[in-house]
Assembly symmetry: C3
Homo-oligomer: 496 residues x 3
């Protein structure tokens, strides 16, 4: 699962051309016009520009407003917003709204929802519970993405596209998923004998005589300890493959209509144990979302107000493995509402995180969200702007400072500058494979083992030794790394 390699970091990556090197990092902000009266849009967008932001992120959760009734599309409101962005010289990231279907779809086509492990369908009330393998849902996604791509794919102000939101590869036990899982197994194993061998179905009489007999392994109904780990692992693989295929499916639609100057990405959560970013084939790069403070402790008595910056540490390197770009798409601008406790952040915490992200090679830093919303689930989740709609929050102040400082640093940019040789010589790679994580996490030798944070500890160590470190997969080109793990280990053993 985890192997440390040292050598020179790769320099040539495919998606970096979307981010001019001289800009260092570009900053943006989420804005939800659908949550505010139209009369305030211009004031808000002007404010975004005045603060120093360079792009606006829109339309992620707005399906209900783009398609208020089945088949009736309305983009006039979004046109206005984008025109205002043009007016104030702000670029735009458009989002496909697939992560939150409108109520009419939820009610009229309940099959578009996942089913949980007790075979109960999800319901209206939140986001991210769609059955991404359901054909009806796919049809609706196809239509809305086509519409939005047609409308904004050639818009010069639109710099890129985010597909979906925090793709979760969520467990889905619905009939659609059962069928898709069986199909996935057929594709993988070809014959049921091959599946029987791979899953060891001779154990506990689980032997299948045809693919039709297979159901999704369900720990809810047969107990954690008793489930077949190979079946569970394949279920994880299937979920990750379906998630990647769903993102690629949307990317394909977009590509039919959009300009080559627009990139395609998505925003994985920093700790993403289900979706596997490397399985997509059509995205330009992967970004991540970072919420370092959800009530967790950290250094010292006031550490709970600082939170744990390590959430950024691993994500900033890991997601480079798709397209070579590191970028944070959501970044906590102050207290959230969903933590165990939700303290006011320590002054400087937000700026600290922004620099963490930048120091790791971040090319874009976008924050969730401009205005603190006055209602619903995240009413008490802070924004860049406070509830009055005009006053900067403390986090907003720190963003402004960061953006000003970046503009200063840009002036120091030297195209010919290179990493010092001594530093480059320490370049290290951590080999990380999500399938191994699933397998180990499922069958830990002890419940005290934290499978996810194991590589994070190694990364913390190499970084603290001043070693540039990549997170790579086993298909990476190893030739550029010198294997020095053992020497490092010896050193550590002597100096610990």
């Amino acid at each position: 699962m985890l192997l440390m390699l040292t050598g020179l970091t790769a320099n040539t990556q495919t998606a970096n051309h979307f981010f001019p090197e001289k800009d260092l990092i570009t900053t943006g902000i989420y804005y939800y016009p659908e949550q505010w009266d139209e009369s305030q849009w211009e004031r808000d967008i002007k404010k975004i520009a005045d603060m120093g932001f360079e792009f606006v992120h829109v339309s992620e959760f707005a399906w209900f407003k783009m398609e208020p009734e089945e088949g009736k599309f309305d983009f006039a409101w979004l046109d206005k917003v984008i025109n205002l962005c043009v007016k104030y010289n702000l670029k735009v990231i458009m989002c496909t709204p697939s992560a939150t279907t409108p109520t009419w779809m939820r009610l009229n086509y309940p099959e578009t929802f996942i089913m949980d492990g007790h075979y109960i369908r999800a319901e209206n009330g939140t986001r991210g519970l769609e059955s991404i393998v359901n054909p009806k849902y796919r049809m609706f996604v196809d239509k809305i993405v086509t519409e939005i791509a047609k409308r904004y794919g050639q818009n010069k102000n639109v710099i890129g596209w985010q597909i979906d939101n925090e793709p979760p590869a969520i467990s889905d036990y619905s009939p659609s998923s059962q069928e898709a899982f069986r199909q996935w197994l057929k594709n993988k194993y070809k014959t049921i004998d091959a599946l029987n061998a791979a899953w060891g179905t001779a154990f506990w009489s689980q032997w299948f005589s045809s693919f039709d007999q297979v159901v999704i392994p369900n720990t809810n109904l047969v107990g954690w300890w008793g489930n077949n780990p190979h079946a569970l692992l394949d279920f994880k693989r299937y979920l990750a493959d379906s998630q990647a295929e769903f993102l690629d499916f949307q990317a394909d639609i977009l590509r039919n209509f959009i300009s080559k100057n627009q990139y395609i990405t998505t925003n994985y959560t920093a700790v993403c144990t289900g979706a596997d970013p490397r399985r997509t084939k059509k995205l330009d790069f992967a970004s991540y979302t970072a919420y370092p403070n959800g009530g967790s402790d950290n250094i010292g008595e006031l550490g709970f107000r600082l939170g744990n910056s390590k959430a950024i540490l691993f994500a900033a390197e890991y997601y480079k493995s798709v397209g070579g770009v590191s970028g944070v798409m959501e970044m906590q601008p102050g207290p959230v509402n969903w933590g165990w406790y939700n303290p006011l952040l320590l002054p400087g915490a937000v700026r600290l995180w922004l620099y963490h992200s930048f120091a790791a090679g971040g090319k874009l830093a976008c924050s969730y969200r401009f205005r603190q919303v006055l209602y619903s689930s995240e009413q008490y989740h802070s924004g860049i702007i406070q509830t009055d709609g005009v006053t900067l929050s403390p986090g907003g102040e720190e963003y402004m400072q960061f953006m000003k400082e970046i503009k200063d640093i840009r002036k120091q940019y030297k195209p010919t500058a290179k990493m010092p040789e001594k530093l480059a010589a320490r370049s290290t790679a951590i080999l990380w494979n999500l399938e191994n994580y699933w397998s180990i996490d499922r069958q830990k030798q002890t419940n005290q083992w934290d499978a996810w944070n194991y590589p994070v500890k190694f990364l913390e160590m190499t970084k603290s030794l001043g070693a540039p470190t990549e997170v790579i997969s086993e298909t990476a080109d190893f030739s550029k790394y010198k294997f020095r793990l053992f020497r490092l280990m010896n050193w550590l053993i002597q100096h610990w």
Copy 2:
């Protein structure tokens, strides 16, 4: 949510006339004739009278015996019991039996049960799981309450009526409740646009195009963090309104038949986070049930045998806000069976609680229950009488002592006595609103916040400062209070 006001306590309340001031407090006891052989009834009731009790509380859980088959009523057994009470000079509180339907209804009309958050119906086996908005259940309640009211409404020995038992405003996800919730929303919002605005459905694409699209917000299916807090708050309001309306529905039936000398009440639990006593309009007053010792700790090493008397502190003031009367309808007479641990009470604990209740202005003190039952869920829950049917329990002894002492104190009653001016000048009010509690408890800044016990702490503080304190609502007449919160706070800051 919480505001402290000081001034003179209100003197004129509507339901105090049911309790002659010279009696100070009247005591009674729960008796379940249906649980004992008829041959023992007279012995038991004579014993109740001999011990010094003044009234008997009956028929709360006896629907199966009043209506053993659908539509066939039998009150002959209850007549005998009440006649025995007359013979031994004991008054009677009658109860409507709506909190426990008979098995025939549960089996033949399963729709009379609530559904849980996974849409599974409750079942025979316990109490308090009725769907109070189900029309079929309402029809049966209407019939049984009519029958019992007709039979005992003019009985001179019956002093009052308890409706239902510990009304819980329990969450109900049944089709009946879904329909009732939608109707409640229509009544409140009139238009779906108004609901969309109030619930902020622009967030996460939750927008509705008609009331028919709304379902009860279900944290079981969409996750705690993701649910719309306004929808959840309205669900709480709907549940509390339905509970109040159900109690008023029964009160209306009773009023058609009963004497004006008989009062109508119900018995809320001391800590009642769901039902809102102030929402009823037809009850004369609200009583409460108090179980201070369920294995909780308190002062000192033996505190677990004392339990936490604060359960009485808040309830005794809070329930005065309905009808101005404070009365405890159930009071723990010894160890219960359902605590984390169920210790023998410290000698004196029961008498202590009775005086707590009296000191807070309690007009009636009734205990659950005369005889410890020999079977079923509360077999190991103590009574006034031990399992042999004749021997007093330690708690029974303390009740006797209390009743004797009260009779002595009654001799000291002076109709013209007034509260000392110095004391009266400290009169304080705590403003408490259950809706605010729901809202804050749902979205706490930290999980370490105990929203219910916040006002209890204030009440403890004012009482410890010798201040008569009322728990009032924001519709109370504030003119009689002088606002001195800040002065008090200053004093506290200086003397803490």
Copy 3:
């Protein structure tokens, strides 16, 4: 529930004749030919014999291989295995495969599965979730047991039969079980009035007018505290009776075909809170399965690698109450995979447990399992042989040592040896009744009470005083015990 009697231990028991006294204890091992390529069978079985094992335990989980399609039986593979055992002078314990139905049955006849307390059926993926009262399942069991009994019932190499596996008396809320429960109640109570009286249905209006109204008491749906304890106790009794009747049902089938030299047993878990071994009438004796180390602590810093041998202490005596024989059918040979943590065992731990079992009068010691399997749920559960298929595991080494030592000890066997009088005079009995355990465990005075381990503590005490101790039922012949509990208690009070 628990009563200590002292006297002489009984000498005449019915099933001891299956185990020649001069052999002291016989050892065996689980082997799963269906999990390995046929080419390895002879090598494996020869190795078993070479190591010193005396018998092989087979076919427990092999229904899928015996009846790969409904009604098509195949025993050719098993014949080969048994012939190899003959060749290498190894006896065989055959098992009925009822604890793990094949997939075709699970899919085609889902009614053969239990339903959980939310009325959701179990599914393919593990073992032990059959609805043992379902008529369809019974029909399939009847057929397979008949086939296997016919085939091997007169095989001279087969020494005995194990019915099912770790019979759990698992809670089953399926329609089949509902019907069977009602029938069980009719048989017990004859009239619904008798049930009403026994269950105290006058409490909380639970009164039934016919047996048809009764459903299985369901704590999942009506809450733990509110359930009728007598209904729950009867459900426990019904489950235990059904489990016993199911074992007897299989024993009856076997008896029609097998030799009188073959015994019939089953293998209860060491801590078995549901199934009651004493309720069977047709089994020769009961064996137990022992897993002392599942991550539990014990003496000293390394105690977690030793585990808790007390798991054997009680089981070794308790199961003697069926047929007078003590025998361990599964014994942990090294780390398991399902513990909280799964440490390497301390050197000597396995041998220690074997001697524990032997010292308690064990007649057979069989271990789960010969080879560590290369896949599925117990992939990381150790075996006697390591994953390479030929190397002994540390536990395997200890088994070999134990078997060699037993052969030496056998040479010291003296048929006329008797227990020293002083020791025999201390003979003690602990009266243990599972129904009392159920009742007390359901309604503990405190949650800190460990009802199961209460008699275990007494047993530990008597053993530490050098007293031979039996675990008996209240129907045992008390005449042979002198009641000395109080003298013992006095002694303890003085010397504690």
